[in-house]
């Protein structure tokens, strides 16, 4: 296979930044695409080539296969990395890339089609002897069939997008009256997010853990398991805190999960990075959920513990290189917190805005995968994930302390984020004890609101008192009336201090 020269990152935000960095380290030309809403985003700035895609709406840009292929051609790309979300698990896109004579950085379209549809994936697992969650998964199932299946399985059930991942289109239904509206909403979300409204049902297992195993497979039949991740802390069925290794898994369970993940991947003829997801109950019984045929949002915790750069590994596998990794022994403990533009006190409502001030944490063992820059308007059109804080340390306790400090140091002003909520989670005794089931948030943070921010209120009071004492519109400093400052100026602030600063 010829060496890749130029890789198009067919995605946006932090994962596009992540892919671009890996390409540049490998000496590959990195191409970015951006919708009109992302013209000022970070990811095109870091690329070697940047190609506009079209209007903000995903169907006109990041979900538009024709435009992406066209952009790849204009960038003279010979490979496409899809990231996660959008078309990352679209067999159609993978095939279109291949048909355009480019390398798809991921599993072959046939494997995506087989595993990407959850119904088919379950059959593959079943045939490989891996237990699965009780549920109903028939391709193209109608609302009537789903309603009947829900009655058979017994409520509560979980509605899931057959084509999707990441919690989109997912609905927990506890009462029969809510079933019809939930099916309708889930179909709409699934169609909007994945281009297919296909749904499936699962019996809802309340007090379980969500544990997944990272696999890496080359084109020559080698499959490695790189350790498990625990992703149980979720809100609205979407992961917010992930860690590796699982604080719950015993060495025996860990080995059984790794074996099951390798078995599913091998049975499916898997290639590239992928993830086998399992539910695990308190008795260490586990159920295969699905195989994600892409890089996961939470891949960095495995990178930190296994010491493997998964994106570089994907690119090398795509070039045909055999896996040169001896079986990997994970080391230490890694945690990831997802930073969202959302308001945890208002049902995690998305909260876009302009990033007016940004200070990202740094230091030993701290990694921030971020798509942020000062002055950037967080678009309304996309998922509100802003960045991810990943920490590593020798023990879980040390990693928790490191995460707490990193979150305290993370300053994002201009849009509401979940940074306060993440601090509350990481600071909770139940989290420290490792009691991270999928019910963690609803159990420990029902109707959570941030505590009285006494220090912040005091700061606000003092700043406002100073402002009243010397209103900025009055005697302006040499910079001119503060009203004349451009709205995107991150330092547009606090009248009397505008010019009185020591640094000025």
């Amino acid at each position: 296979m010829p060496r890749i020269q130029t890789v198009l990152a067919a995605n946006r935000g932090e994962i596009a930044v992540r892919i671009i960095r890996a390409c540049r380290e490998l000496g590959l030309r990195a191409a970015a695409v951006y919708s009109d809403a992302d013209a000022d985003a970070l990811h095109p700035r870091l690329a070697d080539v940047r190609v506009p895609l079209g209007p903000p709406e995903p169907r006109e840009s990041y979900l538009n296969i024709g435009r992406l292929i066209d952009a790849a051609r204009r960038a003279e790309a010979d490979a496409v990395h899809p990231g996660y979300g959008f078309l990352a698990e679209s067999a159609e896109f993978a095939a279109a890339v291949r048909d355009a004579g480019m390398v798809w950085v991921g599993p072959p379209p046939e494997v995506i089609a087989a595993l990407g549809d959850k119904a088919t994936a379950r059959r593959v697992a079943r045939e490989a002897g891996i237990p699965e969650v009780p549920g109903y998964a028939e391709p193209g199932a109608s609302d009537e069939a789903l309603r009947a299946a829900a009655r058979r399985l017994g409520l509560p059930v979980l509605i899931k997008a057959a084509a999707g991942g990441g919690g989109l289109g997912m609905r927990l239904v506890e009462r029969e009256e809510a079933l019809a509206e939930a099916l309708r909403a889930a179909r709409r979300e699934a169609a909007a997010a994945f281009g297919s409204g296909g749904l499936l049902l699962e019996r809802y297992l309340p007090e379980v853990r969500h544990i997944e195993v990272q696999v890496l497979a080359d084109q020559h039949g080698s499959v490695l398991a790189l350790g498990e991740r625990e992703c149980s802390v979720q809100r609205r069925r979407q992961k917010i805190v992930e860690e590796a290794p699982s604080p719950f898994a015993s060495p025996a369970l860990r080995a059984r999960l790794a074996h099951a993940a390798r078995a599913v991947a091998a049975a499916a003829g898997y290639v590239s990075a992928g993830t086998a997801e399992f539910l695990v109950d308190a008795d260490e019984r586990f159920y295969f959920l699905e195989m994600n045929t892409r890089l996961q949002v939470e891949h960095p915790v495995t990178e930190a513990t296994a010491g493997v750069d998964l994106v570089k590994a994907q690119l090398r596998i795509a070039e045909g290189e055999p896996l040169r990794l001896e079986p990997v022994e994970p080391r230490g403990h890694a945690i990831e917190c997802r930073v969202y533009a959302e308001d945890p006190a208002r049902d995690f409502r998305p909260s876009p805005g302009v990033i007016r001030l940004l200070r990202e944490p740094a230091g030993p063992g701290v990694r921030v995968d971020s798509g942020l820059r000062e002055g950037w308007q967080v678009p309304v059109a996309y998922d509100p994930l802003l960045s991810k804080v990943i920490v590593w340390d020798r023990t879980r306790e040390d990693a928790i302390d490191r995460m707490a400090e990193a979150l305290r140091r993370y300053v994002i002003l201009g849009c509401r984020t979940n940074l306060d909520f993440l601090q509350a989670i990481v600071g909770h005794e139940a989290f420290r004890r490792g009691e991270t089931t999928t019910r963690f948030v609803e159990r420990h943070f029902p109707g959570w609101r941030p505590g009285e921010p006494l220090l912040a209120l005091a700061a606000a009071g003092i700043l406002e008192a100073l402002r009243e004492a010397a209103p900025p519109a009055g005697a302006a400093g040499p910079a001119g009336p503060s009203g004349a400052r451009p709205a995107s100026d991150p330092w547009e602030t606090i009248g009397p201090w505008r010019m009185g600063a020591r640094g000025a």
Binding site: E189, L413, A456, A459, A460, P490, W491, A501
Partner: protein, 165 residues
């Protein structure tokens, strides 16, 4: 002489009493009092010293909106002028405004329709999620302020509900 300053935090009024005492400030919020010193470092950056610790304080503003970060906490707020004219009626029509900027993808009632509490009225889609705006109480749809396909700002009113006849 303490000054009264009212912050609006999430449309809730938070009254503060702020007094200067030499280099120190005293700020009371409800039963709590904080004594602190503030020192400017550069535009938008200060130190706040209280209880034997010094905290870095970052602050920005955009029009009426202010945001600051200190000690790991982020606070977004607006300031109530003492004239009191701007305070919002928190119990009013807040339930019937768009929770965030987005696209109206469905209007489920017509003007003049009776609605019951919790009834879905309008659907707004933003950041890949669907949000249903529901009636807070029973009444009659007096006015619909949005159409399907319309972009709305966060906080924009979408409908007015009159009390039931």
């Amino acid at each position: 002489m303490p000054e009264e300053i009212v912050l609006l935090v999430d449309d809730e009024a938070v009254p503060l009493r702020v007094a200067r005492d030499g280099e120190e400030w005293r700020v009371s919020a409800g039963r709590h009092e904080v004594r602190a010193r503030l020192a400017p470092l550069e535009p938008g950056v200060f130190t706040l010293t209280t209880g034997g610790r010094t905290y870095l304080l970052h602050a920005v503003e955009a029009g009426e909106r202010r945001a600051l970060h200190v000690g790991g906490r982020t606070l977004e707020y607006r300031v109530e002028r003492r004239s009191g004219g701007r305070r919002r009626d928190a119990a009013g029509s807040a339930d019937l405004s768009a929770p965030m900027p987005g696209l109206v993808t469905g209007v489920l009632v017509r003007e003049g329709d009776p609605v019951r509490p919790g009834q879905a009225l309008v659907i707004v889609e933003a950041m890949k999620m669907e949000h249903v705006i529901r009636a807070a109480r029973a009444g009659i749809v007096r006015r619909l302020l949005v159409r399907p396909g319309q972009q709305v700002e966060g906080g924009a009113a979408v409908a007015e509900i009159a009390p039931p006849p």
